[in-house]
């Protein structure tokens, strides 16, 4: 049986490099045909907001990298529901093309189902 890995993205898209480098690690794993899912939680949910304008702070746009997830076979993006509620974020339309958002109410149980967790 394939090892199931979960990458948890908890950082806001800019301010630390971990959001970008975490996403790069996810894409590398997916490119190696690893069974990898992604859960966005806490400030990581900000990564999923479409209107990012990092040019103003001379950063590359992370939203563009997120578009690569479905191309690498990561089509379902799991998002912690309470992290969205706490921040007043609604992801009505905002999602990478070709992906589907699934809200997770009980993140503990969700995470426990995986063999390995990568934390970013």
């Amino acid at each position: 049986m394939a090892i199931k890995t979960l990458a948890i993205c908890r950082r806001a898209p800019y301010g630390s490099a971990l959001a970008r480098e975490g996403l790069e690690a996810v894409l590398a794993g997916a490119a190696m045909e690893q069974a990898i899912d992604v859960l966005f939680m806490r400030d990581g949910v900000f990564q999923l907001m479409e209107a990012q304008a990092p040019d103003n702070i001379e950063q590359k746009n992370l939203w563009r990298n997120l578009q690569a997830l479905p191309m690498f076979g990561v089509e379902t993006l799991y998002v912690c529901e309470s992290s969205l509620t706490e921040r007043g974020i609604k992801l009505d339309r905002s999602r990478p093309a070709g992906s589907e958002i699934k809200l997770i109410a009980d993140t503990g149980t969700f995470i426990a189902a995986y063999d390995h967790v990568l934390s970013f």
Partner: protein
């Protein structure tokens, strides 16, 4: 049990880097296996040969090197993260036309595939964040 570690923390900056080293040493002393240590993000600085901490502070690079020698460890530094932050071996320094190479002996540069491989081949992956 077979472990791998992912280290995101720079030495002398976050306690997490020292904790990773202590965890590695302890699990080896207890007879577990350490499949790989993957240094990512700011953790790449753990492999810089030119760090010169004061003598009364722990020399993490030297301690990793000693542990590597004793147990033939696979200490891998993410090449993309290392290029950004200036940890280069001779080949990369020449290729990228930089004035110096500073990768410490005992460490090697490799791609993110080595992290995915570590996940696939270890019973536990333990992350030391920053």
């Amino acid at each position: 049990m077979k472990f791998s570690l992912a280290v995101y923390a720079a030495p002398h900056s976050s306690q997490s880097a020292a904790s990773a080293l202590r965890f590695a040493r302890t699990l080896l002393e207890q007879g577990h296996q350490l499949y790989r240590v993957f240094f990512y993000c700011d953790g790449v600085h753990n492999g810089s040969a030119i760090a010169a901490p004061p003598q009364d502070e722990a020399n993490l690079v030297g301690q990793w090197q000693a542990l590597q020698k004793q147990y033939s460890l696979d200490l891998v530094i993410c090449i993309a993260a290392a290029q950004r932050r200036g940890v280069l071996n001779r080949r990369e320094a020449e290729r990228l036309e930089r004035p110096a190479a500073n990768l410490a002996e005992g460490f090697e540069l490799a791609g993110l595939g080595q992290l995915a491989d570590a996940v696939a081949n270890s019973d536990r992956l333990v992350t030391f964040g920053n």
